[in-house]
């Protein structure tokens, strides 16, 4: 929890990182400070990622229905292949001690179990089959001309906010 009296910037940094770690996979532990425009390289990765989303029809509501009706292997193939490629890559990075392009050691923290992964996971799953989208495809769907999905995205942001608001009262 955030203390009202923060005495040293070091403690502030630890508290800040802890808050960002809470229920998030993708916190950024990098200690490096870069100008904001360094972030454009992540946008470039995102662009390629978005094109793959469209061209492999991952953003398609139809493909999601096929996945959950077990009538097509497509989505299982995509996710399964991605996991295997990611797994091999992470093992190589760890074993060969590969550094980031700035020479920083690559660190991946472990995830701790809490019941939210079950309750939240089920709720997300229900929403996934209705919208035909997880958070990533929402952005690609809007870009692909389905403007009304902006409403879905806004609602997803609202859902995230409501979770944050009532987090202390929910079972974890």
């Amino acid at each position: 929890m955030i203390q009202n009296t923060i005495e040293s910037p070091e403690i502030e940094e630890i508290i800040n990182t802890d808050t960002r770690h809470t229920d998030a996979m993708c916190t950024n532990e990098s200690a490096l400070q870069h100008p904001w425009w360094y972030n454009f390289k992540y946008m470039a990765v995102g662009i390629i990622f978005g094109i793959v989303f469209i061209k492999a029809e991952i953003i398609s509501w139809f493909r999601i229905q096929e996945m959950f009706q077990l009538t097509s292997f497509h989505m299982y193939g995509v996710i399964g292949t991605a996991v295997v490629v990611g797994l091999i890559s992470i093992q190589l990075i760890k074993r060969l001690n590969i550094k980031s392009i700035y020479g920083e050691k690559i660190t991946i923290d472990n995830k701790e179990f809490n019941k939210g992964q079950i309750y939240g996971g089920l709720i997300f799953g229900l929403g996934w089959a209705i919208t035909g989208a997880c958070p990533g495809p929402l952005f690609a769907q809007i870009g692909n001309g389905f403007g009304v999905i902006a409403i879905t995205l806004l609602s997803a942001i609202a859902g995230t906010w409501v979770y944050g608001k009532f987090r202390d009262k929910l079972p974890h």
Binding site: C26, F49, I51, K55, V85, E112, L122, G132, L138
Partner: protein, 188 residues
């Protein structure tokens, strides 16, 4: 070549490219692949409302927002230059189920019978856009990640909580697609 790019890509091509995003982000700046967190950063940036869950330095995570803007732009570029002129190929048995829902238009990636502005202020729109979106945002944050953070990054890093989360996603999806959706379409 352009014809090949315009036709739908094989799952293995997509799987390899998405899987490679994991090491690319790590090597570019020690960043962990995960998309749903961007929704949290938007909350932290726009409406923190003194909620401790949103009181952190979101600017440190702004790479994540650049990434999702990229995903949006990627969708836009594919729409402009790489659009598939043909109908989507969907399995016959799924087509039969969807026909019972009144969905028969396969000209686009999303069924136009549902995902159109004209449905916004109807019960259909409320369920598919507002309720569905809310569940996606609430559920992913409650679970601590989505398909990217848990099912790809987490599983690739052999995290048991991510496996539990992924199984929960799938169970929710199976219930929703096979029990809930038929009920919803009966209601509409």
């Amino acid at each position: 070549m352009l014809e090949l790019l315009k036709s739908p890509w094989h799952w293995s091509v997509a799987g390899v490219m998405i899987g490679l995003t994991v090491p690319i982000l790590l090597i570019l700046g020690n960043k962990k692949f995960g998309i749903s967190s961007s929704l949290r950063h938007v909350c932290a940036a726009c409406l923190p409302a003194n909620i401790s869950f949103f009181k952190y330095d979101w600017k440190k995570e702004s790479w994540n927002l650049f990434f999702v803007v990229g995903v949006f732009l990627g969708g836009f570029l594919a729409h402009l230059f790489l659009q598939n002129p043909q109908d989507m190929q969907v399995t016959e048995s799924t087509k039969a189920v969807l026909a019972s829902y009144g969905i028969t238009d396969y000209s686009q990636l999303m069924p136009t019978e549902i995902f159109a502005w004209k449905n916004l202020f109807t019960l259909k729109g409320f369920i598919f856009f507002v309720l569905g979106g809310f569940m996606v945002g609430f559920g992913t944050r409650y679970a601590g990640g989505c398909t990217s953070g848990h099912s790809i990054m987490g599983l690739a890093n052999l995290q048991l909580p991510s496996l539990i989360a992924t199984i929960s996603f799938m169970v929710g999806g199976f219930i929703s697609a096979n029990v809930l959706l038929p009920l919803i379409f009966k209601l509409l």
